[in-house]
């Protein structure tokens, strides 16, 4: 299993578009991808699930990746978080 943390910097929080992009990146991997925030857990491959975390600016997301392609998945997700999640 791989884990990493990312703090949301977008002032709108983890809103629909970044959450959707995150889900579409996550979906390309076989590994099970969970995202925890504020005591709730979401399926990283599902938009509504991610949105229901209600993650705001400053909220820390805790990614847990488990599966065959977890190494690549972690890399891709970190990259995505750093470039796209905060990019707007």
């Amino acid at each position: 299993m791989r884990e990493f943390k990312h703090t949301i910097k977008d002032k709108n929080g983890l809103h629909a578009r970044p959450a959707g992009m995150l889900a579409s990146v996550a979906k390309t991997f076989e590994s099970d991808i969970k995202v925890e925030a504020q005591g709730k857990e979401a399926d990283g491959k599902r938009l509504l699930s991610l949105m229901s975390l209600g993650a705001k600016c400053g909220t820390e997301l805790h990614f847990k990746i488990n599966g065959k392609d977890e190494d690549v998945a972690e890399k891709a997700l970190i990259e995505h978080c750093n470039t796209r999640l905060d990019g707007e």
Partner: protein
Amino acid sequence: MTKSIRFNGIGITNGKVSGRIKLFGSSKRKIINSRTGSALDEKARLEIARKAAIKETKALEEKALKLLGEKEAQIFEIHGMLLEDEDFLDAVLEEIDKGKSAEEAVRQTAKSYGEMLKALDDEYLSARSADINDISAQIIRFLTGDVAENEENDTEPYILVASDLTPSETVKLETSKILGFVTFGGTPSSHTAILARAMGIPALVGTGTIGSIYDGEYALLNSEKGTLIISPTENEKREFEKEQSAYNKIAKEHEMYLRSIMKKPAVTRSGHKIMIYANIGSEQEIASAISNGAEGIGLLRSEFLYLSKDKYPSEDELFSAYRDIAIKMQGKRVVIRTLDIGADKQIPYFSLPKEENPALGYRAIRICLDRHELFKTQLRAILRASAYGRISIMLPMIISAEEIREAKSLLRDSMAELSTRGQEFDAKIELGIMIETPSAAIMSDILAKEVDFFSVGTNDLTQYTLAVDRQNPKVTHLCERNTEPVMRLIKIASEAIHHKGGWIGVCGEMAADLSLTQQFANIGIDELSVSVPYLLGVRGKVSECK
């Protein structure tokens, strides 16, 4: 009697109409509550509807991206993601398993997710419950087979109320059902206002938001006073009807007078004949153009055949449309302006990149001289139609003789291709250019050598001459009453083309401005081309000119 609700705005074209309000994009739909098939059947129906909704959303997203930009398109991207979201789908399937119909299941799921998002205590995410409602309504629409086109057929005429309308939305409206327009935003020069003027129906712009709760309510629209009264009291209705009948009486008398002069040629008292032509954007306008005395079509905006499609129309499609118009005009002149699009008038499948300054960018003839096949397809279609009537070709946005020569060379190529195919066309087809850049007016003595006629596009010519963006409400007033600079340029062009034995028309909005008709007569304008509702007025005015 409950109190009425009143909205104020800027009135466009004078008129008074009453009718039900229709909010643009909204519609009342029925939901079939009782389950008709097995869970398996319902799931299959759901899948078909969901796929259709995804497809529609993709198309809308692409369109919005091209027409409105990335920001506006995001909403459709989010809708697409929601439609494909497995949580949402799983929840709907679960409801179906519980015995609900697909429609009910979608509605129930939308409700519970909507509530969940609203409970998040985050303004942005709460607002997303509206998106869930949107996609649910979309799926339900496909489930009930209640598609937009079908419902248009049985509605009564209505007052269309919208936040604002984009050019592509205005082109798709079924205009015969619209009594009047009301837009929350917009200026007197916005697309909706232009459309209202072209249709000769009252409009109100800048009213501020009108809530969706008023959808379907009866209302009184008075564009002269700039008011919209929703759910009027009996008193207000009576008052309105009195005003309306008085107004209609005057309008009718005036129209009778104009009709009486309709059959006479438009000649000034000093004997200068001016041809009165119509500007049209579709074949449907021809009947009313003729019944309002149009002696020809001075501007056929050929974009309509491209705007209504999602891929390039074929030569045959274009040909049959032009041919029908030529035949309907029975030998009267039809001036077809070749494709006039650009970054400000987008067509999605052209894939034109966004530009910083579209008015000065890659548009109109500049695109046609760059994409030869696109241009030649249109030229061949026009040429083939020219065998069925009197057609002229007009090139937009010309700035130099070189451009005309290039276009002529492509026209010759097109003719040669048709000859090889053995297809008929008018080999002496009349060719003209729009005078809509200061350059074309200044160089008109040179350009006149290349063509048979000029037609002045005053909207663009004004914008380029005065350096005033006509869509910017902060500066549009600078155009009003400052017509002299443009008039001087038109005079230069008029002298140049007459010197070569050609003719000159005016087809922009100035052509319909009756305070300028005398000046146009003075500088020898041969033709005025205006929207259908202005035809009789201009004809009447010409006969009053010195």
